[in-house]
């Protein structure tokens, strides 16, 4: 007599798989997401402007052109609505210029093809239509940091994300961010953060492990 024919074995197997899967689904899980800030900001901005029925066009880097200039009450409303999303309408010319410099630096660091063809100073003065000396003076006056140092800070920020989220090696990151050598990236990392890339990685890993909920 056969106790287990093919049919019962298969059935039992399905039974197990079913319960096993349900067990997995019930466990808490954690996943990471990566943001593309440019896209998110643009989407939110357009949505808000559309909602207010404004006739507008976006001027590349952080500039909105309105077809009809709004009255004071309308402008107040635009400012309030955008503020809810952390978008600030900049009224002060210098601050506005600094913001445009920062946005252009972000493009350079993120490897925008057009930006790669020039060096930083030429690219900025071309794109923003001011002499580099002027840009550089305004930037340090408003932010207490030189443009050069800001570029380094921004690059290291990208390097940190690549180390943590993509597990890239320093060699790969150095190539991606246009460093002449791994040593150069490594020195700049240490100088900017006071930590070696590997110590940095170790600390962030430990910190993330700490906040995972315990079952």
């Amino acid at each position: 007599m056969y106790l287990f024919n093919d049919y019962t074995i298969t059935r039992n197997l399905y039974f197990y798989l079913f319960y096993f899967n349900r067990q997995i689904l019930r466990k808490p899980m954690k996943f990471n997401v990566k943001f593309d800030f440019n896209t998110i900001c643009k989407k939110v901005l357009c949505q808000q402007l559309d909602d207010m029925n404004l006739d507008y066009s976006l001027n590349g880097i952080g500039e909105v052109n309105l077809k009809q200039s709004p009255n004071a009450v309308q402008m107040q409303k635009i400012t309030e609505n955008l503020a809810k999303f952390g978008i600030e309408v900049i009224s002060d010319q210098q601050t506005a210029l600094v913001q445009r410099i920062k946005d252009a630096v972000t493009l350079i660091v993120n490897g925008d093809e057009e930006a790669q063809k020039y060096n930083v100073s030429n690219y900025l003065s071309e794109k923003l239509d001011y002499s580099y000396t002027h840009l550089s003076n305004v930037f340090s006056e408003v932010t207490h940091m030189s443009i050069e140092n800001f570029v380094i800070l921004k690059k290291i920020d990208v390097a940190k994300n690549l180390i943590i989220e993509h597990n890239l090696t320093l060699t790969e990151i150095a190539f991606k961010l246009n460093y002449s050598s791994v040593a150069h990236l490594s020195t700049q990392f240490k100088k900017t953060t006071g930590l070696t890339p590997s110590t940095f990685q170790k600390i962030i890993k430990k910190r993330n492990d700490k906040v995972v909920p315990q079952d």
């Binding site: 900049i90 207490h144 800070l153 920020d157 006071g194 600390i203 962030i204």
Partner: protein, 148 residues
């Protein structure tokens, strides 16, 4: 984002250290408003007051009576209202274990108390400059670690 000045808090039980810190920060070009506290409990009581203007950066001595720097750090990181604060540990200890432990518990900056006034000024200036950028630029605050 426009920013006119940074609000800074320092908790340190040593009077001389508080005095030096105040002198140093006043000599730096970046505009600041400094609040001083003599221990961790005083600082934490202040931070949870209703309608308080929160500092952007807090400098914490590790060894203080009543409530030490590590306890403050943990309380700050557990409070969702205080999520945006940058915490700088300001301590004489240079043990790697202390440094790692504070970072893992959510500190952003670790400063070994410098020996000269000039070095102290340079260290504070670097911290303020970086914080200014973290307040005003799209930088990832989760990865903000600095050791001086």
């Amino acid at each position: 984002m426009a920013l006119n000045s940074l609000n800074i808090a320092l908790a340190d039980d040593d009077e001389d250290d508080r005095f030096l810190f105040k002198d140093a920060i006043e000599e730096i070009k970046i505009k600041t408003k400094l609040s001083l506290f003599t221990n961790g409990k005083e600082l934490m009581d202040y931070l949870i007051l209703p309608n308080v203007i929160l500092p952007e950066v807090i400098f914490l001595d590790l060894n203080m009576p009543i409530k030490n720097g590590m306890q403050c750090l943990k309380e700050i990181r557990e409070n969702p209202k205080l999520i945006d604060l940058s915490v700088a540990i300001y301590s004489t200890s240079s043990s790697e274990k202390d440094i790692e432990e504070t970072f893992v518990n959510g500190a952003n900056i670790y400063i070994n108390k410098p020996n000269t006034f000039k070095e102290l000024k340079a260290a504070i200036e670097k911290v303020l400059q970086l914080n200014w950028q973290y307040q005003t630029s799209a930088l990832n605050r989760d990865n903000f670690l600095l050791r001086i």
